[in-house]
Amino acid sequence: MAATVKEGDNTEAEQIVNPWEVASSRGKIDYDKLIDKFGCQRLDKSLIDRVERLTGRPPHVFLRRSVFFAHRDLNDILDAYEKGDKFYLYTGRGPSSEALHLGHLIPFMFTKYLQDAFKVPLVIQLTDDEKCMWKNLTVEESQRLARENAKDIIACGFDISKTFIFSDFDYVGGAFYKNMVKVSKCVTYNKVVGIFGFTGEDHIGKISFPPVQAVPSFPSSFPHLFPGKDSLRCLIPCAIDQDPYFRMTRDVAPRLGYQKPALIESTFFPALQGETGKMSASDPNSAIYVTDSGKDIKNKINKYAFSGGQDSIENHRKYGANLEVDIPVKYLGFFLDDDAELEHIRTEYGAGRMLTGEVKKRLTEVLTDIVERHRRARAAVTDEMVDAFMAVRPLPNMFS
């Protein structure tokens, strides 16, 4: 990472969480401390029940398992929705690598659920300019990666009649850029350094990037989608490390006469080797990729997934598995839809009656199913389809 991240907003040296670095001196991230420090709210059961009532369908597995666990102003969005005032969704991806793993898909899987459940439109930002700057890619390479990633994103099942995908290099300009300048005028150099930890050594591209990720929160940035709907609210599903961008945006919005965007935030997806391991694009064994075959998945889980089971069968039957650190059980928490089955596995495995092998086998089945379905959907995504998703066009039925 080229940006030398100083403490900035994170005055405690224990945890560093910002868009370019996630680290904890204790290995594991303390999410309660994070919520306190950032000032967002916990997503509690009453909110989940409310979502279920309003949408008339069971809440997504990520809500039930507290994968998406924090929010800002979600209640206000729901209040407005109940009165018949719609909103739109905004999420994005920094296309830094071609290979996508399951962790990358999580915000998109959840956003698709939100789109289907609330029947609202969605804009997806591909920050190719950001990756060009931070990862020192050429402009062409970052644009190429953006298009490639778009295909995997589309394969998550977004409705083309309600979804606009755009890359910064393609779209920045016009109304979007006007909002960028308005936002920039409201954020001092000192403030942006304070929020993101930039230093005097960082180039000016980085320092002026944050408004690019801020303005999709404002409907006037998309005059072809939301003409005249300046008070349309925005809900942003993202991982919690993106919070700084939107703290800044929410701070600026009232000064521009815009609504503050609401957020719904997720925890981080653990690497196969455990919470303290780092998922990295150069280590293919740290994650399950969407291009992995069933055989690869089975192999990776059996060989690399960190087990909380005991070292011998006798000890395991005696003490049970350590569910706190066991990766297969954690992964099942993300991807096994059936609450009852997950409970059963946790109970039996925790008591030592179920062995690691069985848990890993079930996980392999679940993940293979997901990856296979993704691959089939991906096979149907053509370059023309990407062009269509990315075309600047009206979406006439976006709220139906």
């Binding site: 390479e141 589309i154 099942g157 977004f158 009649s161 075959s293 096979a379 149907a380 023309e384 389809m385």
Partner: protein, 315 residues
């Protein structure tokens, strides 16, 4: 479509590419080849067929004495250390359509090798002519690489020459220098899963035959219980109502058949209808939704393309 040695040679002549050809007994190695043509004018080439962990394939064609370090190459392509290995033998036949010992840059002429990346040794350029196999290892042809370039360009390929012996550092601030040579539309040739992703190349009519067998009932395949044979489908059919309906009916039928076995009927008796119906909703919902979304998005895209190219009425 060129598929054989004869057709290749005829094509080279058509393009007026100068080459010399030498028949010899079948050879499987550069050493064996050297026995027959080593004394002739022309440098011997060694040709590697490689695969990365994301099932993408590469041909590396180099002078026989160029040092090719797979670890370095893997890093330069952005695949990490150890991301490249020799492709399995089956891939030679399936993708390159050549026998063992016959890897050659000319193999990219095949439709099936559309997505194979071709890396050519810069040092080939310094030779007056080089030896390659023309899709069969009972012959070697020698030609100047400009001839090879002309051929590649005639099939729509951009020849990519690389200094294979270079070892530039790859790190946070130095991106892999060969990253652009990694095939972008991953032709997912995984022999266990047998999933083939077609590109949207409408102009190419000689695609592999469209095999639309609807999804079969779940039978353990020879290699692994998890993998089911999946259709190789032309992208056009994703928006075809008939195929769409067929696939839904096939999946539903398969489920009904598997849920109405003797034991299950005995177990549920009169309730079997409700049980099967619930099972169907539970198991098929996600899959059918995915299918329907694909259908919708494909149809919309077809409309979008039509709209882009529509000619307004003459007034």
């Amino acid at each position: 479509m060129l598929s054989s040695k004869e057709q290749l040679l005829a094509r080279l002549k058509e393009l007026q590419i100068d080459f010399s050809q030498y028949d010899h007994p079948v050879v499987l190695t550069v050493e064996a080849q050297a026995k027959y043509v080593g004394h002739l004018k022309g440098a011997l080439s060694k040709n590697l067929f490689l695969k990365d962990k994301k099932h993408r394939y590469y041909i590396v064609s180099a002078l026989s004495d160029t040092k090719v370090d797979l670890k370095v190459l893997s890093q330069r392509l952005g695949l990490g250390k150890g991301g490249l290995r020799m492709a399995p033998e089956e891939a030679l036949g399936e993708i390159l359509k050549v026998p063992v010992g016959c890897v050659t840059p000319f193999a990219v002429v095949h439709e099936s090798a559309r997505c194979v990346s071709l890396l050519l040794d810069q040092r080939l350029k310094s030779q007056e002519c080089c030896f390659f196999h023309p899709l069969s290892n009972d012959m070697s042809i020698s030609l100047n690489v400009s001839g090879l370039d002309k051929f590649l360009e005639s099939i729509g390929r951009d020849p990519a020459y690389v200094d294979l012996e270079a070892n530039p550092p790859v790190g946070k601030d130095q991106p892999p220098d060969l990253a652009a040579l990694v095939p972008s539309d991953a032709l997912l040739q995984d022999f266990e899963a047998k999933v083939v992703a077609d590109k949207s190349d409408v102009a190419v009519n000689n695609k592999p035959t469209v095999v639309t067998e609807a999804a079969k009932p779940v039978k353990p395949s020879k290699l692994s219980v998890k993998e089911k044979p999946v259709n190789a489908v032309n992208f056009l059919s994703f928006a075809d109502p008939e195929k769409f309906v067929n696939e839904i009916l096939e999946k539903a039928s398969a489920l009904i058949i598997s849920e109405t076995k003797d034991e299950k009927i005995k177990q549920h008796g009169e309730q079997i209808g409700t049980v099967v119906s619930n099972s169907m909703k539970h198991h098929l919902r996600l899959e059918l939704q995915s299918l329907a979304t694909t259908f919708k998005n494909s149809a919309y895209t077809d409309g979008f393309v039509a709209g882009k190219n529509y000619q307004p009425k003459r007034l």
